[in-house]
């Protein structure tokens, strides 16, 4: 029957339909087995992940750039969502601390200006080597002075008013600002690394992600550090007013609208001359350069654009979770899971990425009880057959089994389905 259908409509997107049907069946299974409230929560999280995955598919699928630090940009988005949407901490703003903090930052700016000025003294005839040494020494001194000014202020904030608090704005402003901040950080990283070997970008992004996490974890005055900030306000009425199901449905509508908008814009961009140019650069850099394309600039655009989307998605995800916990950003959950979504769904194929995100996230969430069940089975078998004592921390070990599976999935997909479930469709014009 399927063959007949296919004969009748030769343009029928069979692959897409099969994958979409797969996602639908999985969703149906979750809804039937886990109940509405739980399934809606999972679906909203999957939608946020889809936005993040769209950001990565731009970088990896369109541009061939491998970002190994998605987690960092997600955390930046989450930080902005927290910082903009939390209520204003009046205690902080009524004290003299904002003034002191501002003063410290002003001194910091003065210090930077001083260092920049000294770095230009070679124009006055100072030898270049001497200038370099002078600049480095001055930069070190300025940094130490800034630290000695800055530390008392931050510890005063921590001890007197807990933390600086939020700005009391709607959450969506925080998401957009998160995208902006992620884009700015991405700009600097991309500016340094994109002209070099592609491996360097992976190393640098891996590093910056850990640094962002370390900063957010230890800057207690800004984020309360390990004490975490909660509850984060939602842009929609919360579960307290509408009940879990309606509140989550509303949130889902917002994320779905965001995905549709982003998808529409991406599809437009992909088919526009800009998209063609990006693919030309990815597939054959030399000939693209020979055609007079500015490769460095286009690459930077792609990378920054992807980071912005990752930041926005991270903001939406963190707001939904309702808690900002810097230690909760894990490479496994926020970098490698997204990577699997993209390479399994189809890098460079927006629809494939979205469906891949949904499918992978459903499997990911469902795999937790499954992994535990399998571990329990093995433990029972082991104790039955060899009298072997099962370790007591089965649930944490089941988690490690999932680490292994994600790694295996990445390697297998790269080997056997390098284009993913839904390969990028290349138009051949004869």
């Amino acid at each position: 029957m399927l063959a007949k259908l296919f004969d009748k409509y030769p343009d029928l997107p069979l692959r897409e339909l099969v994958v979409a049907a797969l996602v639908l069946v999985a969703l149906l299974f979750v809804f039937l087995s886990q109940g509405n409230a739980y399934s809606l929560r999972m679906l909203v999280e999957a939608a946020c992940y889809a936005i993040i995955a769209l950001g990565l598919t731009i970088q990896w699928g369109y541009g061939g750039q491998f970002n190994a630090g998605v987690m960092g940009f997600v955390a930046l988005g989450g930080f902005c969502a927290m910082s903009f949407s939390m209520p204003v901490n009046t205690e902080f703003w009524n004290s003299d601390l904002p003034g002191r903090l501002g003063q410290t930052f002003l001194w910091g700016l003065v210090g930077i200006a001083l260092v920049v000025a000294v770095s230009q003294v070679h124009r006055l005839g100072v030898p270049k080597k001497l200038r370099t040494i002078l600049t480095i020494i001055l930069a070190l001194i300025v940094w130490m002075v800034f630290r000695s000014l800055f530390d008392p202020v931050t510890s005063a904030i921590e001890s007197e008013v807990d933390f600086v608090g939020g700005l009391g704005m709607p959450a969506w402003i925080g998401w957009l600002m998160g995208g902006l901040l992620a884009g700015v950080v991405g700009y600097f990283i991309g500016h340094i690394c994109l002209g070099l070997r592609s491996d360097y970008l992976a190393i640098a992004t891996l590093g910056i992600a850990e640094i962002i996490k370390a900063f957010l974890k230890n800057a207690d005055w800004l984020t309360r550090g390990t004490a975490t900030v909660s509850p984060l306000p939602w842009p929609t009425p919360g579960p307290g007013e509408l009940g879990f199901i309606w509140a989550r449905s509303l949130y889902l509508v917002i994320t779905a609208v965001m995905i549709v908008a982003i998808f529409y814009l991406l599809q437009k961009a992909y088919n526009a001359p800009w998209g063609r140019m990006i693919r030309a650069i990815r597939d054959n850099e030399i000939s693209a350069r020979a055609m007079g394309k500015n490769i460095e600039k286009r690459r930077l655009e792609v990378f920054v654009f992807g980071c912005v989307l990752i930041g926005i998605g991270g903001g939406a995800l963190t707001s939904f979770n309702g808690i900002f916990d810097a230690t909760g950003y894990l490479p496994l959950n926020h970098t490698f899971l997204v990577l699997v979504m993209v390479i399994l769904g189809g890098p460079g194929n927006n629809l494939g990425t979205i469906l891949g995100a949904l499918l992978v996230y459903i499997i990911w969430v469902m795999s937790e009880p499954l992994a535990l069940w399998i571990m329990q089975l093995f433990a029972d078998l082991g104790s039955g057959a060899f009298g072997w004592d099962a370790p007591d921390n089965l649930s944490s070990r089941a988690l490690q089994a999932r680490v292994f599976v994600i790694g295996l999935l990445i390697v297998l997909v790269l080997r056997y389905a390098p284009k993913g479930l839904m390969p990028e469709k290349l138009k051949h014009i004869s």
Partner: protein
């Protein structure tokens, strides 16, 4: 003088230890980089794997070393090196070689190596749990306290057995690697392949064999680095993720594909890390009275806090990528 002893203990010796670890790790990474031309992210987990093998063997035969008068983990190290080399070759055969023969871009193999990282981490934690352990099971860590002659200082210089072993091993490894790369046929073949793989192939070099030897070298060095690090601190499965960045920074600083550069880069990164978290105000204390009254020395004069240690290798990496992307020693692979 006590302050100077403190400086030697806390900065010079620990910098040398960190530098040796990074140097051994970076040599392995740079060898793989120069032969197969991809950044091998799973290297740090091979370190953990090697240390874990040592741990298991030591737990099985805790008294073996005492019979020979050396620490048991050291006795088990060659076996762990063998196991790690076999693992490295196996991983290559199973995961990287098919991709290489498929003619994919190097960055795809980088992603595959991240997948391998996760697999190794998963397996290691599945079997060993997530808690950290000491490699000294029945023995105790020998600590040498060297008193300075005369009344110069009341504090002794402190150096531990694993630290001495590590530094000695690093010197031997560097010397051995130098001889291997310059004097043996295989070493020359490796250098030829790192210069130009196609030319090496047409001149009759068995590239498969070179690749295998590279993995053996990388595996041995990884096992050694992991073991010495675990001896010095403790064996924890989370070790690897925080080693990746300093090791890659060291390899890139020294010039990728340049083993001597990697050693220099390792020590540079190690010392930079240690010296930036070192509290310099300790050294200023004896000359405190020379400063004018109004200038008070802050109690903490470190460049960065310990919690931001990871920023240091990243900063070095960024500076090198901006200032001289080929590394200090002009690596061959850009």
């Amino acid at each position: 003088m006590n302050e100077l002893v403190f400086f030697i203990n806390k900065a010079l010796i620990s910098g040398a230890v960190a530098g040796s670890i990074y140097a051994i790790g970076a040599v392995g990474v740079t060898l793989v980089f120069s032969i197969m031309r991809f950044a091998h992210f799973a290297h740090a987990d091979q370190m953990t794997f090697g240390a874990l093998i040592v741990f298991f063997l030591t737990a099985l035969f805790p008294g073996a070393g005492a019979a020979l008068g050396i620490p048991t983990p050291l006795l088990m190290l060659p076996l762990a090196m063998l196991a790690t080399s076999v693992l490295a070759i196996g991983i290559d055969k199973a995961f990287y070689k098919p991709l290489r023969e498929h003619g994919v871009k190097p960055i795809v193999i980088v992603i595959a190596s991240l997948g391998v990282t996760l697999m190794l981490q998963g397996i290691i934690r599945l079997f060993a749990g997530t808690s950290s352990r000491s490699l000294y099971i029945e023995e105790s860590k020998a600590i040498f306290r060297l008193d300075l002659p005369g009344d110069l200082a009341s504090r002794p210089l402190v150096i531990t057995e694993p630290q001495i072993l590590l530094i000695v091993f690093t010197i031997l490894a560097v010397f051995g690697l130098h001889l291997f790369l310059n004097r043996t046929r295989m070493g020359k073949a490796m250098r030829a392949m790192s210069d130009n793989p196609d030319l090496a192939r047409v001149s009759g070099i068995d590239t498969n064999k070179v690749v295998m030897v590279t993995w053996v070298l990388a595996g041995c060095l990884a096992a050694a680095a992991g073991t010495f690090l675990s001896l010095d601190v403790s064996l924890s499965p989370d070790l690897s993720f925080f080693l990746l960045l300093p090791i890659f920074a060291a390899a890139i600083v020294g010039g990728v594909g340049h083993p001597y550069g990697a050693i220099a880069g390792g020590f540079l990164v190690g010392y930079a890390e240690t010296l930036s978290v070192f509290n310099w105000s300790v050294l200023l204390r004896p000359i405190n009275h020379w400063f004018p009254e109004w200038m008070e020395i802050p109690r903490n004069l470190s460049l960065v806090g310990t919690e931001y240690k990871i920023v240091v290798p990243f900063f070095i990496l960024v500076v090198v990528l901006i200032w001289r992307p080929t590394g200090i020693f002009k690596g061959k692979v850009i």
